[in-house]
């Protein structure tokens, strides 16, 4: 009898961590909605990824790279003055901004470049929004001597010029995208158009936990190192698991990386912070696809999208190029519907204030993307008791945003 009960409990135990199914679905979300030309390529990638998931040799090689090239594990840092300032929960920053290249994006790129090499691909393409993924792609391609072309919206090229310079210095070919609003969505369209044209030798390195299956799963797995480390580090320093997790969400790769390890620990509150732009009440003035969007199909998966009544995708807006995307990874869409993760929105202005306060209290200049998470922590922490342990993923550093930020706050430099 006890044995039957244990079996019955099994799915419940792994309730939130078992997805996607064999067709790439998390509930109703995800899937593989791509043109026939790309289907064989996506299926080939799925087979290749399945073969390395449990391959100890591959995983060891990746671990070595993450540690000695990427700089992992990243510290879990108690933000004392920030905690004191807010007067509530005890706040830890997961310092993924200290990784090589300055964000969590390198975790995924190191995994995918090893896979691309195993698949015998000789050319890498990628899309980038803030340029953090583009820099990480250009970096791993430089390291392995593989040519790469990066699609970046013309608007983003202008607002993220330091990353543009880094990519060019690393030897990447940068292809400006002028269609649409010239942001991340348009860059992804053009990267897909490249892939459909160069089917034989090209590996498409998607930077976020979106796109057709197996990308959402693969990117999540490569980013899960973040949450796995937090679990160990928290147990080591506090002797218990955290009570709350907070991370910003564009496509959602850093967030799913932090969250995934903890999804079945039901006592833990999890918050994903979307870009509220000018405010979620402003039409087409934000990028809060889960707070304000509807389910639809874009870039190979079904997920929450910002779109009009006729199914046309909206451009959205965020001061932060990395969050300026009208969709979100399908696993997040599912976690929202399941009620496991709460998704909230933070405006441009709130993020800018949070960036300044974090910089001045902790001596850490965060990127605009995690500044959204910091801003939500500033709302949340004061409402919580002092023994409450809160972990926020500081997923990128702010060097790339200095011009945008100083202009936005009217600082003379």
């Amino acid at each position: 009898m006890a044995q039957f009960k244990a079996l019955a409990d099994q799915p419940e135990l792994d309730k939130y961590r078992s997805g996607p199914d064999n067709y790439g679905y998390f509930g109703n979300f995800g899937g593989r909605y791509v043109a026939e030309t790309l289907m064989p390529l996506v299926l080939e990638l799925e087979r290749a990824y399945d073969s390395v998931r449990c391959d100890r040799c591959f995983q060891n090689e990746l671990r070595e790279l993450l540690n000695h090239y990427g700089g992992r594990p990243s510290p879990l840092y108690l933000a004392e003055r920030f905690t004191e300032h807010l007067g509530g929960a005890k706040i830890y920053f997961k310092r993924d901004e200290l990784n090589h290249t300055g964000s969590h994006k390198i975790n995924n790129c190191l995994g995918q470049i090893l896979l691309a090499l195993r698949m015998g691909k000789t050319r890498i393409i990628a899309e980038t929004g803030a340029g953090q993924h583009g820099v990480a792609v250009a970096t791993v391609c430089a390291k392995y001597g593989i040519p790469c072309e990066i699609y970046m919206g013309a608007t983003d090229i202008e607002r993220q010029s330091p990353n543009v310079a880094r990519m060019k210095l690393l030897g990447a070919q940068l292809n400006p995208v002028t269609s649409g609003a010239g942001t991340l969505k348009d860059a992804m369209n053009d990267a897909l158009r490249d892939w459909v044209t160069n089917v034989k030798n090209t590996y498409y390195m998607i930077g976020t936990a979106a796109g057709p299956h197996p990308y959402p799963q693969m990117v999540r797995d490569f980013q899960s190192v973040i949450g796995n480390e937090v679990r160990e580090q928290m147990l080591a320093c506090e002797g218990r698991l955290p009570d709350s997790l907070v991370a910003c969400i564009g496509g959602g790769s850093n967030a799913i990386g932090l969250f995934h390890s903890f999804l079945n620990d039901k006592q833990i509150n999890i918050y994903g912070v979307e870009a509220g732009g000018h405010g979620i009440e402003v039409e087409n003035g934000h990028a809060a696809s889960m707070t304000c969007g509807q389910p639809g199909i874009l870039h190979g998966n079904r997920t929450y999208l910002l779109q009009d009544d006729d199914g046309q995708i909206l451009e959205g807006h965020s001061l932060s190029a990395g969050l300026d995307y009208p969709g979100v990874g399908p696993e997040h869409a599912w976690l929202k519907d399941k009620g496991r993760v709460q998704y909230v929105a933070i405006t441009d202005k709130e993020a800018l204030d949070a960036l300044r306060i974090c910089t001045q209290l902790e001596g850490i200049i965060p990127a605009l993307e995690p500044s959204h998470a910091i801003a939500y922590v500033m709302k949340l922490a004061p409402t919580l008791p002092k023994q409450h342990l809160l972990v926020m993923n500081l997923c990128g550093r702010g060097d790339k945003d200095l011009f945008t930020v100083t202009r936005a706050i009217g600082m003379n430099i």
Partner: protein
């Protein structure tokens, strides 16, 4: 793929058209235009003129903000159409108006899944069937991702035309054929619409491969821009599909504000006559 309980109706205009042309030993000409490009009225006038200009079947694009399989020419036409206020309702209305004067020429709607999904799959197939549509092509809904549209479309008697590409392997081809009605759309290149078609031998070899697996008619499209290419491709195809070259003609006749001029309709129709001529001469 669940196909049990699905009623395949195969006597619509598409099948009739191919049967008739086959009897004449002729290849069909299948032009593509984007609904509402550059505006509703102009695209209606182009559409109404297409059969007389030489179209045997017509493919109408449902504009989408993010047409990932399309090159810059058709992307721009989608932008123009959406800017001028084109919606799914207006696209269906366009077909309805066409059917008032033409009850014979098959109409195929082509597009991306999101606008269809948001409109509602069941409502979509029912409304377009009533308006007089005969078949649909949804680019980002290959047969193994399609668990929602196939059955309702079959039950309405709509043809579901699937794409076969140079990357499609034998196993996929077998499955695609099982879930295709009307005709197979062979994509002549790996690339987006409007790219250069260079390797005719590869087209010939792949079409041979499809023919040995299926009795369905085969339309060939992507990159066909000249009447010489039309003639060449017609040796392998039951229908030759041309899109970007026509859309480019529309774009070339617009004024500096992107509005249609008195040249727009007639130059597209003239081009259709010119491109389809080699197919008529073959009779």
């Amino acid at each position: 793929m669940k196909s049990l309980g699905v009623r395949k109706i195969i006597n619509n205009r598409i099948d009739q058209c191919f049967t008739e042309l086959n009897a004449l030993g002729r290849t069909a000409f299948l032009p593509y235009i984007t609904a509402g490009d550059p505006d509703f009225e102009t695209s209606k006038r182009i559409l109404l003129g297409l059969p007389a200009a030489g179209a045997d079947l017509i493919e109408i694009g449902m504009p989408f903000s993010d047409p990932m399989a399309d090159g810059s020419i058709i992307q721009a036409s989608s932008v123009r159409a959406l800017k001028s206020g084109q919606t799914m309702n207006k696209t269906i209305d366009l077909v309805r108006r066409f059917r008032k004067s033409d009850s014979k020429t098959p109409i195929i709607l082509m597009g991306y899944y999101n606008p269809v999904y948001v409109y509602g799959v069941n409502r979509f197939v029912s409304d377009i069937k009533k308006a007089g549509v005969d078949g649909i092509i949804i680019v980002d809904l290959p047969h193994d991702a399609d668990c929602e549209l196939y059955a309702p479309a079959m039950n309405e008697g709509l043809s579901l035309i699937r794409l076969v590409t140079p990357t499609t392997d034998h196993a996929r081809l077998q499955n695609i054929i099982q879930h295709t009605t009307g005709f197979i759309y062979y994509v002549s290149i790996t690339g987006v619409t409007g790219s250069e078609l260079t390797n005719i031998e590869e087209v010939a070899a792949n079409v041979k491969r499809i023919r040995s697996a299926s009795a369905l008619p085969i339309g060939i499209g992507f990159g066909i821009k000249t009447h010489v290419q039309v003639a060449e491709i017609s040796r392998y195809a039951d229908a030759v599909i041309a899109g970007s070259v026509l859309i480019n003609k529309i774009a070339g006749t617009l004024d500096e504000n992107g509005k249609s001029t008195n040249k727009t309709v007639c130059s597209v129709l003239n081009l259709v006559s010119k491109l389809s001529l080699p197919l008529k001469l073959k009779v």
